[in-house]
């Protein structure tokens, strides 16, 4: 695996079928490691900076020693962010909304993708294109009319409305990905179950879904991330009287940085930014094995 792209001399040495997995140290691998290390620094650097700053108070932040350790690791900034900037409330709102909408997206998306991939019926192609054409439209295209329709459906400033909007805007990618994925699964097991008398729904839930586990998990993670990240859609949907108690996390963060005074809020903002990464750690902890298996080994194909 590691010598997949090795230079001719190494590969010639390992090309004997007896030792295909033998790993040789060569200078190029050293360069690769250094390059990756530098790049890792560039990737993680900004995050580390934010994490350090989140424990500092404003004086320390303005001291001009950005990579110095904070004087003491107090969680006061976090408490401030959680309580006074209401980040706690917004955080829980986000968790609630994303949990339901991701589950909804996966259920509706998987059902639609399943029939599109496995059944021939009139309109099949048209429906597929209707779903995936959503991929080609930038979200901001539909914001103004979306506001109008949410208003006339009385869904403005409700979680139901936000959840439905999240689901609708995630379906295109979900269906596109899952149709391609379902097609790569073998049809024989499905057929065997049918011969044995399993109904359509039973085959879907007890045979297709388990077989498609790695693909489903990859796309679930993708949807959790995508919906957790939404900013424009909640700005459009969650407005009106008393909306600020129903905001999601991204709205809360934006509020700290725009409406509040310039100097007072830096440390709170850093703490809020750090909090926004937390769910990813949880998601990673839960799906660790599947991420390794599904995301790295040909799930996206």
């Amino acid at each position: 695996m590691t010598d997949l792209k090795s230079n001719p001399s190494t590969a010639a040495a390992t090309s004997a079928p007896a030792a295909p997995k033998q790993r040789k140290l060569n200078p190029l691998n050293g360069v690769a490691h250094i390059a990756l290390f530098l790049w890792a620094l560039a990737t993680a650097g900004p995050l580390i900076w934010v994490l350090l700053a989140s424990f500092k108070n404003n004086t320390e932040i303005f001291l001009g020693k950005p990579f110095a350790m904070p004087e003491h690791f107090s969680f006061k900034t976090y408490a401030d962010a959680w309580n006074e900037a209401h980040i706690g409330q917004y955080f829980l709102n986000s968790v609630f909304v994303v949990l339901i909408s991701t589950a909804g997206t996966m259920l509706l998306g998987a059902m639609a993708a399943y029939v599109l991939a496995r059944y021939k019926f009139p309109g099949n192609r048209a429906i597929y294109y209707l779903f995936v054409s959503g991929l080609a439209f930038p979200t901001f295209m539909a914001l103004a009319p979306l506001f109008g329709i949410m208003q006339s459906l009385n869904l403005l400033n409700t979680y139901t409305g936000l959840i439905l909007v999240y689901i609708a805007y995630s379906l295109s990618f979900t269906v596109f990905f899952l149709v391609a994925f379902f097609k790569t699964l073998p049809a024989e097991i499905d057929e065997a179950a049918m011969v044995d008398g399993a109904g359509h729904l039973r085959r879907f839930f007890q045979i297709m879904m388990p077989m498609a586990k790695s693909g489903l998990i990859s796309i679930t993670i993708f949807n959790i991330v995508g919906q957790w990240n939404q900013y424009l859609l909640p700005v459009v949907v969650m407005q009106g009287a008393g909306a600020d108690s129903k905001w999601v996390l991204t709205q809360g963060i934006a509020n700290i940085s725009t409406s509040a005074g310039y100097h007072a809020e830096w440390s709170t903002l850093f703490a809020a930014l750090t909090l926004s990464i937390l769910p990813m750690i949880v998601v990673y902890a839960i799906f660790q094995r599947q991420i390794q298996a599904g995301l790295t080994a040909g799930a996206v194909k």
């Binding site: 590691t2 509706l108 990905f177 391609a180 725009t258």
Partner: protein, 329 residues
Amino acid sequence: MYAVDSPTTPAHRAPVGPGANEPAPRRRKRRGKGDDVVLPWVLSGPALLLLAILLAYPVGRMLVLSFQKFELKELWTGATPKWVGFDNYTAVLSDSAFWSVVQRTVLFTAASVVLTVLLGLGVALLMRRVGRVVRMAMIIAMMFVWALPALVQAQVFKMMTDSDVGVLNYLIDKLPGVEFQNHSWFYTPTQGWIVITSCVVWAGIPFLAITLNAGLTQVPKELMEAATVDGANGWQSFRNITLPILKPLLVIVTTLSVIWNFGLFTQNWVMRDGKPEPEFQTLATYSYVQAFGQNKYGLGSAIAVLTVILLLGAMAVYIRQMFKIGEVD
């Protein structure tokens, strides 16, 4: 890929339906057929309905709005908006401000996508060379960046380049002979766009690298070995083996990157505190400001429609290729 589902379909048409144990063959046949027509609609119905109401309808409405005069007066009084034909479009197209926004958006998209794809592919190729542990560490680090809300990514870069507390000025100032304290990065558009582009590329690489790394695992090792035995060098095997195998995936991720970056909104919006100067407008913010800021909803819609037309026009071939990959036959 298409071959996979072809065995299924005839089986569905066959008289062996869900009630295979029941004796009456006529009933079985009818029921099996009926299910095949109804079931797809039942299963895809809810998703279709949501999509139609919340995505298709607004886009259609946008299209209609772009041919109407819809401003503050119509919004408040609820008066039926007047049809103005192509007035909105001629107003937009004859405005030089629009064209400079188009130029800027296209330039940004080209630069950011080329950088993201090249660097993402580079990282993915490097990942194949390193050990398992290092590779997992890379993936974890990238998951974090990828998982950050675009809003947060933009905030982080905004603060890093802040003239007072920004870590970037601090680091550059450390270089011998360089005076960089309190340097303002958004004073000139070029430097400002370098910051914005860096942010987008930084945030975009993880998705590309993780996806392409997954794609690279599909390259058969035997082929690569055969090529090296035949005397191909690293570049030749990359060019003639890896690249063709990776091509469908590259088409997908590049096309998606173009679509996403062309609609850039959050990054320049946040870094300019929700009031982007003319030099920092992209088509998305420009359309938004015209519609919501100036209350010219018809005009804003026309800009949005033109944006999609530009995007589809430039990318039609690739978008078609992308959709074909999962196409229903």
